[in-house]
């Protein structure tokens, strides 16, 4: 099964990319408030993008007005 010499490295690389993505998400605080984040997609009284939040900070910002 020489094909495995291709498929195994490809899979390992994809796994490593996944691991890297997980490490990034952990580092960037993606899992700090899971219960809150599950709720957040339900807020949409105004179907508009938010203004860019200040760099280095996060949170609800003032809404964009057209």
């Amino acid at each position: 099964m020489t094909i495995l010499t291709l498929l195994i490295p490809v899979t390992l690389v994809m796994g490593a990319v996944g691991l890297g993505a997980f490490f990034w998400s952990l580092h960037s605080g993606q899992y700090e408030d899971l219960s809150g984040d599950a709720e957040r997609i339900l807020f949409d009284e105004d179907d508009k993008p938010l203004a860019a939040y200040p760099p280095g900070h996060s949170g609800t910002t003032k809404e964009k007005t057209p």
Binding site: G15, G18, S35, A38, E39, L42
Partner: protein, 550 residues
Amino acid sequence: MMSNLTRAERANAMVIAGTGAFIGLVMAAAGRGDPMGAHGWIVLAFCGALFFVVGSAYEDPEPTQDRTASYYDDPTKVGILIALFWAVVGMGMGVWVASQLAWPDLRFDAAWSSFGRIRPVHTSGVIFGFGGNALIATSFHIMQRTCRARMPDQVTPWFVLLGFNLFCIVASSGYLMGVTQSKEYAEPEWYADLWLVVVWVVYFVLYIRTLARRNEPHIYVANWYYLAFILVVAVLHIVNNLAVPASLTGAKSYSAFAGVQDAMTQWWYGHNAVAFFLTSGFLGMLYYFLPKRAERPIYSYRLSILSFWGITFFYIWAGSHHLHYTALPHWVQTLGMTFSVMLLVPSWASAGNALMTLNGAWHKVRDDATLRFMMVAAVFYGLSTFEGSFMAIRPVNGLSHYTDWTVGHVHAGAMGWVALISFGSIYALAPVLWRRETIYSWKAVEWHFWLALAGTVIYVFAMWNSGITQGLMWRTYTESGTLAYSFTDTLVAMHPYYVARTFGGLLFLIGACIGAWNVVMTIRRMPSETPERDYPTSSESREPALPAAE
């Protein structure tokens, strides 16, 4: 539509369309006398039409309002409509293909209409045409809403959507001309594959760019599912389609792999296409639209993230179960079998998570057909993943493989899960996109739901029966040790099931047509009366998670 583009963007779009038209012209010239030449004319026509459409609106006034204050929904809208168009075409082809099995005369003695040519038009039409466009359109919607940011520019989404559809057109027109690599779900030839790589990379970059400009710090789990869909499909597509063209002026190419190596690569691709095209992306859809429509957060958000990583890791090696009892080494088969069985855990975690989200809101499921589409989709997802794990066990596969049972299994997933979640999402999305209060007719949604459900159940049961009958007939021996039934005997036994299958498919097709009509009517005019129940009524049943923090 053009009014949302600046003049510079229109110019960019014209350059891209013009380049495409030029490539089409080159293909047409170089591939004279070969199907590639015909494809060149198709590309030229497609890009030329786009060039003309953009060009004729070039002098129109530019957008005046601040575009960053709204989401860019035009590509989503067009994507939804194209998806519905492909649904009708692909499913119509499916009904025709199914009818040919029951009544072979329906081939009408033409080469292009033979079973082997129109079957891939059906599979590619529903998977890539309908499914792919629905995924691209919903991903545009979801990534903007969950990031609370507009897409980074206006031309790229059009490039992705229309480029993907150009691929779909080239692919299905090629099948009718007999152009195929003979690889399941990877039939298109080398130039179409190359084009898809370009489109797909641009799609991935667009997604990452949108995420990078997000105003909501958290990346909602649906985005992870979509990203896995895009990224892994790109890798699979590239590896499986490594091929050497016989000549640069013709469609024919030869795979870089041979024999069982090629088969292994093909099913490594094929099963992961099921995982990452037909599962991961649609789970992203489920994880966004189901909570949204039910107005409840997902039951366990943590579990949805965990099952994401589970699915990503477990699926990779399951593909070899497609090659049980072949020249593939025994241990590779066992490996595929083991991982297919383990795959049940994350799959059921997702299905259970979806159903538990609805637990406590069953009255909404009862009243709202849109939500019911999603609920039944989750049930079929659970059923077909269980069936899949079961069928991957070698002895079971000994009975099921090469029979209609496999076809039944695929359709339980494709109709019950993929199509129902897509229709549910489209019904939830259409009123939001076109700023309507509700869908045009909730009664039509009900009709669609029951037609789709009945069609799926009839189809799947017919194929289970036919598959098991077929499998048992093939392995029945007489006392003298010869086969008891000839192949023709089995076909006679299959006939009633093939008729039933056609009927089931027809019901499903009628449902899809009603759905397409309903969406078009939603866009065209407002309902004459306010529907009683298209929308979930209230959020009264939202129990507090924690009883007392006062």
